[in-house]
Structures are given as C-alpha cells and as structure tokens.
C-alpha cells in the first residue's frame, strides 16, 4: 500500500482497472461454480468480453491517438469470419480446443491488422477526419464482401468462391463460410476464461504501450501535430501503430465472438455495431480504460436484462446511459475511485514522488 501512495496517477488508474476486471471475473466465476448466474447472463459472458475488448481497442484509437474510426465492427467481422474459419480448418490437426482458439485469435488479429495497415497507409498521412470516412466505408465493404464469400474444405484442401457457391466439395468436406448464411460453427470453443484472458491481454497491451516511448509519441501526435514533428516524431507512423494495434485487438475480439456463436452472419457487424462500440468509448470517457470496461459491460447486458420491462425499456436504457456517463466522466467519482487506491497518500505532490517510484508496476 505504501508503494501505491507514491505512484503516478496513471499507474494507479491502471492498477484499478486490472483490479476491477479481475474482481469481476472472480465474482462471476465463483457464482457460476456455486449458485449459477442465470442463463441470460451466462449467455452474455463471452459477448461482454468481446465488446469490452472492442471498446478498449477503439479507445486506443479515439482516446489515445485522437482519430475517429466509424468502422471498427468491420475489424471485428474480419476476426469473426477469418478466426472461425481458421478454427474449423484446424479442427483435426489441433485437438486441444483452447490452443485452437488461441491460434484462431492470433490469425483473426493478424488479418485485421493487415487490413488496418492497408487502410492506414493512404489515410493516416492526411490531417483531418478522413479516417472516420474511410473506416465507415470499410465497414460497409467488409459487410458486403463477407456476405458473398463461400469457403469450404475437403480432402483436396481449401475451396473458395465469391458471389455464387461453386465450391463443389467432395464427400466429408465442410463448409466454413456460406455466403449470406454466414458461418455455421461445428464447434463453440470460446469460453468465459478465454474472454477474460483476452480482456486482460488487451489491457496489458494498451497500458504498456501508452506508458512507453511509443505511447508518448502517439499522444504527442494527438495533442499537437506540429510540436510532435518539431521534435522529430513521425506523426503518421505513430497514428499507424495505434490504429493497427487497435485493429488487431478488434480482430481477436471478433474471433472470440465468432467462436462463441453457433451461427452468425456478416450483417451482425454493421454500422450500428460500430456506433454502439463508439458509444461505449464515449460514455466510458475518452482515454479512460476502466470507463470503457464498465460502459461496454453495462450496455451489453442491459438490452437483455430489460426485456422484462417491455414498454419502459427505452426509458430505462436512456437513464442507464446517463448514469454510466455521469459515473465514468464525473471528476468527483473518478477521484473517489482513485482515492480508494491511495489511502496512505500524505499531502505532497504525487507527481514529483511518482517519478522516484520509477516505473510503478513491475
């Protein structure tokens, strides 16, 4: 506890976020082992993890790097399709399902990262809100493409066709992606524990990145482009690093989601989904990761939980929106949470001493 008192505020904030996520996981796991949490919530656990990761990923772009993306559902979609197909293709060669899921997530993340990079090349050199426009188009394009892709596998290897199903699989072949009918998973290998690990990984990647030379350059590019360039920081490069990292995390979240559903279609990841994720980020507070965690969790559970209220549903939803916004963006409340973590802090200016603490969390 004494060390907490001398920590930098951001370090304390990070620890609070880790603690929040771990505590939530422990409580939910304990309930699941014991009395159970009800089938409604049980079914939401993996989507919650996926959306929390999506919110964290988008917060890296919007909050930390200061760019707007309106097509993050597109990266989720890529991850869901590519990851699920990859997992099904590996079914025979990799028996251990957690390992297969991990490989699929890495695959989904890689494909999403490559696409993020390709989008970033022309756009991130420009100064302005071009990324918002291009990512919006990207999300729609991905949706159209994914709706028309047919992918299958049989003894002769992979078969691919576009617009029409001309795969002509031999006996024993499996359809991996079935055009407008989406993906039919023969397996549901995603688990709550895997989701928890992904959220922790996303947090670790983002926090470690932010608190480093790379992160400082990303924030410098966000806060003052001219000043950043004047000290030799290539603004495009660091906006790209943030965007590609975010796309990769979104891809992994997509794989987690895809591998939790018996079946899903491309229209699941449309513009509304992109906006929903942006709402998580804005409600939770730009750059505030625990805010994103809370907002994404609350707003993912809410529509399901509100089914019983029928008519009052939208009203309650709006009220919760406002409450979440107040809770995560309110300085007093933020201060309260922060204070929970520094009971022993004595007077003096935290920052100066924080410096002496070196790098807080080893």
């Amino acid at each position: 506890m004494k060390r907490l008192a001398t920590m930098k505020k951001s370090t304390r904030n990070n620890l609070f976020t880790y603690a929040l996520v771990i505590a939530a996981f422990v409580v939910v796991q304990a309930l699941r082992v014991g009395p159970g949490i009800g089938s409604m919530l049980e079914g939401q656990l993996i989507p919650i993890c996926a959306y929390v990761t999506m919110a964290l990923a988008l917060n890296l772009v919007v909050g930390i790097s200061g760019e707007l993306s309106l097509g993050h559902a597109g990266f989720m979609s890529i991850g869901a399709f590519a990851g699920s197909a990859f997992a099904m293709a590996l079914q025979d060669s990799v028996g251990l399902s957690p390992l297969r899921l991990a490989l699929a997530m890495v695959f989904g993340a890689l494909i999403a990262a490559v696409l993020g990079f390709l989008i970033g090349i022309p756009v991130l050199r420009l100064n302005g809100d071009y990324l918002a426009i291009v990512t919006l188009a990207f999300g729609e394009i991905i949706k159209s493409i994914a709706t028309n892709v047919y992918l299958g596998m049989d003894g002769n290897g992979l078969h691919f066709s576009f617009l029409n199903d001309t795969m002509d699989l031999s006996d024993g072949g499996v359809e991996l992606i079935r055009g407008p009918m989406g993906v039919m998973n023969s397996q549901r290998i995603s688990t709550f524990i895997a989701g928890f690990v992904l959220v922790l990984a996303a947090l670790t990647i983002i926090f470690n990145l932010v608190n480093s030379r790379t992160g400082r350059a990303i924030m410098a590019a966000r806060d003052n482009r001219i000043a950043a360039e004047s000290v030799g920081i290539s603004v495009t490069k660091y906006k790209m690093i943030a965007f590609v990292t975010s796309a990769a995390l979104a891809g992994a979240a997509g794989t987690l989601y895809g591998c939790s559903q018996t079946t899903f279609v491309a229209t699941r990841f449309d513009f509304n989904t992109s906006i929903l994720i942006l709402v998580f980020v804005v409600l939770g507070g730009l750059g505030n990761m625990w805010g994103s965690v809370i907002a994404a969790t609350a707003l993912t559970i809410l529509p399901e939980a509100l089914r019983q209220f029928s008519e009052l549903r939208m009203l309650v939803y709006a009220i919760v929106l406002i409450l979440v916004m107040l809770a995560t963006n309110n300085p007093t409340l933020r201060g309260f949470f922060t204070r929970l973590f520094r009971r022993e802090r004595e007077g003096a200016d935290a920052g100066v001493r924080a410096v002496k603490g070196g790098g807080g969390h080893e």
């Binding site: 930098k8 670790t204 990647i205 470690n208 990145l209 608190n211 480093s212 030379r213 790379t214 992160g215 400082r216 350059a217 924030m219 410098a220 806060d223 003052n224 001219i226 000043a227 950043a228 360039e229 004047s230 000290v231 030799g232 920081i233 290539s234 690093i241 990292t245 200016d349 935290a350 920052g351 100066v352 001493r353 924080a354 410096v355 070196g358 790098g359 080893e362």
Partner: protein
C-alpha cells in the same frame, strides 16, 4: 570582436553576421541563401541570407509581422520555401521535412506555446528525447529489460535537462498547469531533449517579468556554453537581444534591412527608422 567581418571563404553568401572568433575557422552550422516564400500574392520573406556560427548566439529582430516566425517555419520546413537554399551543416535540406530537419539538428520553440498540455512535464521532455531513446513497440508491450533500461536513462536525462532551469521538482506536474514563464522554459528543455546543434527560440522572454528575463538570459548563455550549440532567437526585449546576441539580423516587411553587432544595429539609421515609423514594438 573586430568590427570588420572575419575573412572566411566558408561563408560565401553575403552574410554580414559576425561569426564569433571561436567559430571563425569552422563552417557555419546554418546558411540560408536567397531564402524566400510567397503566400498567394504576398511575399512574406524575400532574399533572406544568413549564416550562423557553430556556437554563436544570433538574434532575429524586427517589427511585428516582419516575417521572423515565418523564417523559423522555413528553416524547420513547416513551410516549404518558394525560393532559396538552406544548408544545415553544409547539407542541403531541400528534400527534408520537419521531422528530418529535427533529426538533422534543428530544434525550436514556438511563439504561441505548443506544449503537450495534458501530459506531465517529464513526459514532455521525454517526448523531446524521442529519437535519443530506442525502445520499440515489442520491448515496451512485453516490458523487456531493454524497456526498463531505456526508461531509466530517459527519466534521469529528463530530470537532468529540467535542472537547467531548476524545474526538476515540477517533473510530475501537468505541463498545461504551469505558469506562462515555466511553460516557455519547458519548451526550451523539450527542444534540448532532441540533441540539437541549432536551437531556434521564438520570443522566449515573451510574457516574462524583468527578473525572469534576466535569469533566462543567463540560462541561454549557459545552454550555449554547456551544449556547445548555436542559438538563433527572435525577441522583442532589446535588453536581452543586445545583452547576449553576438550577431543580429533585422527584418522589416520580409527583407533584411541590417545585419551586424549589437552596437552596429543600435546605431543603424535604417533600423531606427523601421522601429520608429510603422513598427509597434521595440
């Protein structure tokens, strides 16, 4: 200092600037030749010729709107020159952008302060040191030993640089929360973090009280002496300019109207005319 311009064939352009004695045998760190820029129909700077010695403190003065900041923006490639050549340590910066010019050795401060307001003082300095540290994405995300090593060095170096202005105790404060004078000093420290060979200061004493200005003067000389770098400064405070500049260049309506030592400039009728008629500040 002699009154005649030192004979040096290494400064071919008509630079009337006094190259300090200790730099006489060396090539200048910066040479601007026939530099000019037009904004639409407006010629903001024209025929700007200047050479700066390697450890010289030079001044750029002139009435408001004369084009001084524009010269800084040209030297740092925030603007692409319409005409002319910039030689940095003998190297043509024609194909360089702002980032590359900084890596090649020019650092600057801004007339309208441009700090990273939401970040700490220490982080501002570390951002200045960006190219002096090397840990990449992977070593940072995985917190490899090289990350901790680099961060430790960066932390110590940042405090060391801040101590030039006795600001090391402010390391944890938010840059935007600092008083005006401290923000100007922090900009200088951040620029020094880039390890420049030429430091451009745009009105470093603006908004400072006389005692702060006096302290700043001492520190500018101290910075030159410790880092052995050249400094070009824009300033309206004549006590500062005349007190520490070895060569002064006077700009009016984008044209150089005089160059010389402080004494020469103070007695130059053109300069007196420019400042008395038309110019708002002296």
């Amino acid at each position: 200092m002699s009154n005649k311009r030192p004979e040096t064939k290494l400064v071919p352009v008509p630079s009337v600037n006094k190259i300090p004695e200790r730099d006489v045998d060396k090539s200048p760190i910066l040479e601007a030749q026939h530099l000019g820029i037009d904004f639409g129909g407006l010629t903001a700077v024209n025929e700007f010729n200047m050479a700066i010695g390697r450890t010289e403190i030079a001044g750029l003065i002139g009435p408001n709107g004369a084009g001084k900041t524009t010269v800084f923006n040209l030297l740092t490639k925030v603007y692409q020159p319409t005409r002319g050549t910039i030689l940095l340590d003998g190297m043509d910066t024609h194909n360089m952008n702002t980032v590359q010019v900084n890596r090649a050795g020019i650092a600057r401060t801004f007339q309208n302060i441009r700090l990273f307001d939401n970040l700490s003082v220490e982080d501002n300095v570390k951002i200045g040191m960006h190219n002096a540290i090397h840990s990449g994405v992977l070593s940072s995300v995985l917190r490899l030993p090289s990350y901790w090593r680099e961060e430790k060095i960066a932390h110590e170096r940042a405090l060391e640089l801040l101590s030039i202005f006795d600001m090391q105790d402010l390391a944890g404060a938010k840059a935007g929360s600092l008083p005006y004078g401290a923000q100007r000093r922090l900009e200088i420290v951040r620029a020094l973090g880039t390890n420049p060979s030429l430091l451009l200061l745009d009105e470093p004493a603006a908004g400072m009280n006389p005692s702060e200005t006096a302290e700043l003067m001492e520190n500018i000389v101290k910075i030159r002496d410790t880092f052995q770098i050249a400094i070009l400064l824009i300033e309206h405070d004549m006590s500062l300019v005349m007190g520490i500049c070895e060569g002064i260049c006077v700009l009016n309506f984008g044209q150089i109207i005089a160059k010389g030592t402080p004494t020469e400039i103070q007695n130059n009728p053109e300069v007196i005319k420019a400042y008395l008629g038309g110019g708002k500040e002296a």
